[in-house]
């Protein structure tokens, strides 16, 4: 090992993404390098087609986000009256009835987080494509945030599940899930897959690692 800090890639090594076993890479191989002898995961120096996959999933999520917000997610039938609710109309209802903490929770989980996450992924993908050297540490942190917050968007889907289970009293009161819920669930799943397909190591590939580390390998 040379005294200067190096990355696994420049040292012709490949690190298993699952169990972190470090392996020597055959010099010619640039694509898949076989499977990890310890855990069996497919080995790649970088996640395959990371940028293209992330782009595709981000675009798909943006498209699904529209019907998810326009179409109703629940239909309430109570004593002969029916009312359909979209995500936003649910938030507005809570604001009007003075339950703003709940309104805030739903707004953040269902509207704010998915958009924020998609914008952050978009920013990361574009910055990597443009080989930006701007604050890689902060961008890596941003990536970790996108990975961590996505799951909380499932809140609304769970709320619908619980409401559907509980409010099932025939003519008295009945809640049904509507098409918007399917699209919204799709948005959550697609954004999670998008975050998983992005490889944060790409952020660092344009940098020379020597300058910032005090205890090199």
């Amino acid at each position: 090992m040379s005294p200067a800090a190096r990355t696994a890639q420049t040292a012709s090594l490949v690190s298993c993404t699952v169990c972190h076993l470090l392996l020597r890479r055959r010099p010619a191989a640039s694509g898949p390098v076989g499977n990890c002898p310890r855990c069996g995961a497919a080995l790649h120096a970088r996640k395959p087609n990371s940028i293209a996959r992330t782009w595709a999933l981000v675009i798909a999520a943006f498209i699904f986000y529209i019907p998810a917000n326009v179409l109703p997610i629940t239909k309430v039938t109570s004593l002969g009256m029916t009312q359909s609710d979209t995500i936003m109309s649910g938030v507005i209802y809570f604001v009007q009835t003075g339950m703003w903490p709940i309104a805030l929770v739903i707004f953040i989980a269902s509207i704010f987080v998915p958009v924020l996450k998609l914008l952050m992924l978009l920013f990361l993908v574009i910055s990597v494509q443009r080989r930006s050297t701007w604050r890689p540490k902060d961008r890596t942190r941003l990536y970790r945030i996108t990975e961590a917050v996505g799951r909380w968007s499932m809140t609304d889907i769970f709320v619908v599940t619980i409401l559907v289970a509980l409010v099932h009293l025939g003519a008295l009161a009945n809640i049904e899930a509507q098409a918007g819920a399917v699209f919204f669930a799709a948005v959550v799943v697609i954004t999670m897959l998008a975050a998983m397909s992005f490889d944060p190591r790409l952020i660092w590939d344009v940098k020379e690692p020597q300058d910032e580390c005090e205890y090199p390998a």
Partner: protein, 202 residues
């Protein structure tokens, strides 16, 4: 983890020679700040105990009603699976499957995989295919969403409170406990400690 091992940071690929990391401390990547190693005191035993606790709680959470709903004298008690079945019957198969995976299947597989790996390890044995199981454990992890489901319960309760009387059941307390147990379990398990123990048992 054994000091002197060379590992690559999983977030930025920088190679590190790991220093000796004391229990309860964390070794971070000096370039991007990712956690490289975070051993805990008796981490293995702790994770095993918590995983077993989690399994018990998960079974309870799915066998008892988790919310009761009282409106004009009518009481409706529901299991978690009631909601999933209801969604399924309303032609929301995809959503039903997603909810089933994230609240029942993923946590269950996660906990069973942990016990499968950790119990033999504790008895100085090696479970066959342990690393394959571990790989699946890592895959499943992001899809296990108990804590998000708990937030869903809270929102629903507030939402329905004006309409009817809500009676929290045994299962909702089990859910609540399960979230903390699961989080503590994953936090006390440093995968590298598992590898180390595995190599020792060889």
């Amino acid at each position: 983890m054994t000091a002197g091992h060379i590992m690559a940071c999983h977030d930025c690929d920088l190679l590190h020679r790991l220093p000796a990391v004391a229990d309860g401390m964390r070794a971070n990547c000096c370039r991007c700040g990712a956690a490289l190693a975070r051993p805990k005191r008796n981490g293995l035993e702790r994770a095993l105990a918590l995983a077993l606790t989690g399994l018990v709680l998960l079974v309870l959470a799915n066998s008892f009603p988790f919310l009761g709903f009282k409106i004009q004298g009518q009481v409706r008690e529901t299991l978690l699976l009631t909601g999933i079945r209801q969604l399924y019957m309303q032609d929301m198969e995809a959503v039903a499957v997603l909810v089933f995976i994230t609240t029942v299947l993923a946590p269950l597989t996660q906990l069973m995989a942990l016990v499968y790996i950790l119990l033999p390890l504790k008895l100085n044995r090696r479970a066959p295919g342990m690393f394959r199981v571990f790989r699946w454990l890592r895959r499943i992890e992001p899809w296990s969403m108990m804590e998000v489901f708990m937030l869903g319960i809270l929102v629903s309760v507030v939402k329905l409170a004006k309409m009817a009387q809500i009676i929290p059941g045994i299962a909702s307390f089990c859910f609540m406990a399960l979230i903390f147990v699961l989080a503590a379990c994953m936090a006390s398990l440093d995968p590298h400690v598992v590898w180390e123990q595995w190599e020792e048992n060889q």
